[in-house]
C-alpha cells in the first residue's frame, strides 16, 4: 500500500506537471481561441472534451489551467515556506518572546477561517491571481511556521544537538547543520499537502470569481461558467472538476508516500480548515 500511494501519487502528479509543461509548446487548439459558431459542442474527434460557451477547446483550457494551478500552488507554498520556515526555526532556537509572538501570530491567522481571509484580501486588493496567491500564502506562512517550529523543538531536545551545543557551536550553526536537515522530511511532506490544499483553495476562489481572472483559464472558473450551461452541455461541469480532484488526489498520495518513505513515524498536520 505504501508503494501504491507513492506510485499512483507520482503518476498523477507527473501527469499534472506534464500537462502544464506541454501546454507551453502545444495544445490541441489555442486555449483562448473563441468561435461563437462552434460553441457548446460535445466531445468529438476534433475537440476531445468538447467546447465551452465561447467555442473554446475544453482540453486545451484544462491543460493551460493546470499551468495556472501549479503556478498558484508553487508560489503560495514557496511563499509560505520562505517566510514560515525561518520564522519557525527561529522561534524554536530562541524560544522566549519570539516564540510567543509567533504563536500569537499563528493563532490570529488561524482564527479567520481560510476562506474568510481570502475574502478580505481580495476585497482589499481586488480579485486576481496574485491576490489569491497572497491570501493562500499568508495562511501557509502560519502553517509552515508552526510545523517547522514543532519539528525543530523536537530536534533541539535530541542528544546530538545537546552534544553539538556542548562543543560550543552557536545556535545558527546548530540550526543549519543539525536542525534543518532533520526537519526537512516533515517539511517536504507538508509542502505536498499544502500544495494540494492550495490547488483546492485556488479552485474555490476562482469558482467564486475571486481568483484567476479570464481570459486566463482556471479550473474553478470553468466550473462556475459550466453551471449556467449545465442543462445544455453537462460535460462542461465534469472535466474541470475531475482535473482538480485528480491533481489533489495525486499530490496527497505523493505526500503520504513520501512520508512513509522518508520517515514512517512522521505525520503531517493538514493545517486547519
Amino acid at each position: 500500500m505504501r508503494h501504491l500511494s507513492l506510485g499512483v501519487g507520482l503518476l498523477l502528479t507527473g501527469l499534472l506537471v506534464a500537462a502544464a509543461l506541454v501546454s507551453f509548446f502545444w495544445t490541441p487548439h489555442p486555449a483562448d481561441a473563441i468561435g461563437i459558431a462552434r460553441r457548446l459542442r460535445p466531445p468529438s474527434a476534433e475537440h476531445w472534451l468538447g467546447t465551452d460557451q465561447l467555442g473554446r477547446d475544453v482540453l486545451s483550457m484544462i491543460m493551460v489551467g493546470a499551468r495556472n494551478s501549479i503556478a498558484v500552488g508553487a508560489v503560495a507554498v514557496g511563499l509560505g515556506m520562505a517566510v514560515g520556515v525561518p520564522l519557525g526555526l527561529l522561534a524554536a532556537a530562541r524560544r522566549g518572546w519570539i516564540d510567543e509572538g509567533l504563536s500569537r501570530f499563528a493563532d490570529l491567522v488561524f482564527a479567520f477561517p481560510a476562506i474568510l481571509s481570502a475574502f478580505l484580501v481580495t476585497a482589499l486588493l481586488g480579485p486576481g491571481a496574485i491576490n489569491a496567491i497572497l491570501a493562500i500564502g499568508v495562511f501557509n506562512v502560519a502553517v509552515f511556521a508552526r510545523v517547522a517550529r514543532g519539528a525543530a523543538i523536537q530536534v533541539w531536545g535530541r542528544p546530538f544537538v545537546r552534544a553539538a551545543l556542548a562543543l560550543g557551536r552557536g545556535p545558527v550553526s546548530v540550526t543549519l547543520v543539525h536542525v534543518l536537515p532533520n526537519v526537512s522530511a516533515v517539511l517536504i511532506v507538508q509542502a505536498t499537502v499544502a500544495f494540494a490544499v492550495a490547488i483546492l483553495a485556488e479552485a474555490a476562489l476562482s469558482y467564486l470569481g475571486l481568483g484567476i481572472q479570464p481570459p486566463a483559464p482556471s479550473w474553478g472558473k470553468m466550473l462556475h461558467e459550466a453551471q449556467t450551461f449545465m442543462p445544455m452541455r453537462p460535460t462542461l461541469a465534469i472535466f474541470p472538476g475531475a482535473a482538480i480532484a485528480l491533481a489533489v488526489l495525486g499530490l496527497n498520495l505523493l505526500g503520504d508516500g513520501l512520508r512513509d518513505a522518508l520517515d514512517p513515524r512522521l505525520r503531517p498536520s493538514r493545517g486547519a480548515g
Binding site: 500500500m1 483546492l200 467564486l208 449545465m230 453537462p234 461541469a237 472538476g241 480532484a245 486547519a272
Partner: protein, 315 residues
Amino acid sequence: MLSFLARRLVAAAATLAAATVVVFVVLEVMPGDPALLMLGTEARPDTLAALREQMGLDRPAPVRYLAWVSGLLTGDLGRSMTYGVPVAELVADRLAITVPLAGLAILASTALALPLGLYAASRRGRPGDFGVMAFSQLGVAVPNFWLGILLVLVFSIGLGWLPAGGFPGWQAGIGPALAALVLPAVSLALTEAAILARVARSAVLETLGEDYVRTARAKGLSNRAVLWGHVLRNALIPIVTLVGLQFAFLMAGTVVIENVFYLPGLGRLLFQAITQRDLIVVKDVTILLAAMVVLVSFAVDLLYAVIDPRPKAGS
C-alpha cells in the same frame, strides 16, 4: 491546570482583540465608498457628505473603532448600512440556514465516518481498511463545490428528485426546507467525513495499543465490549475535537456551497456585504466567525485539560 487555562483564556482574548484591529484596519483601507455606491453617478458632493454623516462615516477612525468594539462587548452589533435594520436580525435570519446546514453536514459526516473509521481500524491492513483509506483519499480530493454541481446534475436536472438550489424558508414547512438542504449538506459532508474517518481510524488504532485495552482483553472481555466500552470512549476525544473544529470552520466554509445552491446563508450575507460595502455587517460577521473559531479552540483546550491534566507542550 488553572494557570494553564488562565493563560489560554488570556491568549484567546488577545487573539480576538487583535482580530478586531485587523478587521477594522482592513475595512478602513478597503477601496470603495459606501455613500457613493448608494447614491450613484449623479450624487453631488453635498449629498454625499450628508449621507456619510448619516452613516456615521464622518467621525474619526479611532472613535468609530471604539464605538464598534464597545458595541460588540455590550451585544449591540449596530445597524446595517444598506438595509438599515439591526445586524443582529440579519445575522439571525442567515444563521437559520447556515447552522442547520452545517449541523446536517456534520451529522451526515459523523454518521458516515465513525463506522468507516472503526471498521477500517478493525480490519487494519486488510482490503476493507484499504477500501476505507482509498475512499478517504478520494473524499479529500473532490472539491465540495464540484460534488455539489455533480449532485445537482444527477438528482435535480437528471432525476428531478430534489431542488437544484434556493431555500423556501422555514415557513414553507420542514419538508421543503430540509429538501433544499439535503444536497448542500451531502456535498459538505463528504470531505469532512473523509478526514474524520481517517482520524477516527488512527485514534482507535492508537487506543487499541494502550495498556488498559490489553488488560481488558486479558480479562476476557469480548472484542465488541472492549471496542464499545473502552476504545471508543477514549478515541472519542480527538474525534470530538475535530468535529468541533469542523463545525466552526463550516460556519464560514459553507459560503462556496451556499453559492452553488444559492442559499441565503451567513457566507452569502458576508459576500454581499463586501460587494455593497456594508462595512458594519462585514466587520460584525467576520468577528463573529473568528470568535467562534477561537471559542471552539479554547473549548478543546479546556476539554483536554479536564481529561488529561498534563499541560500540553506547545499546544
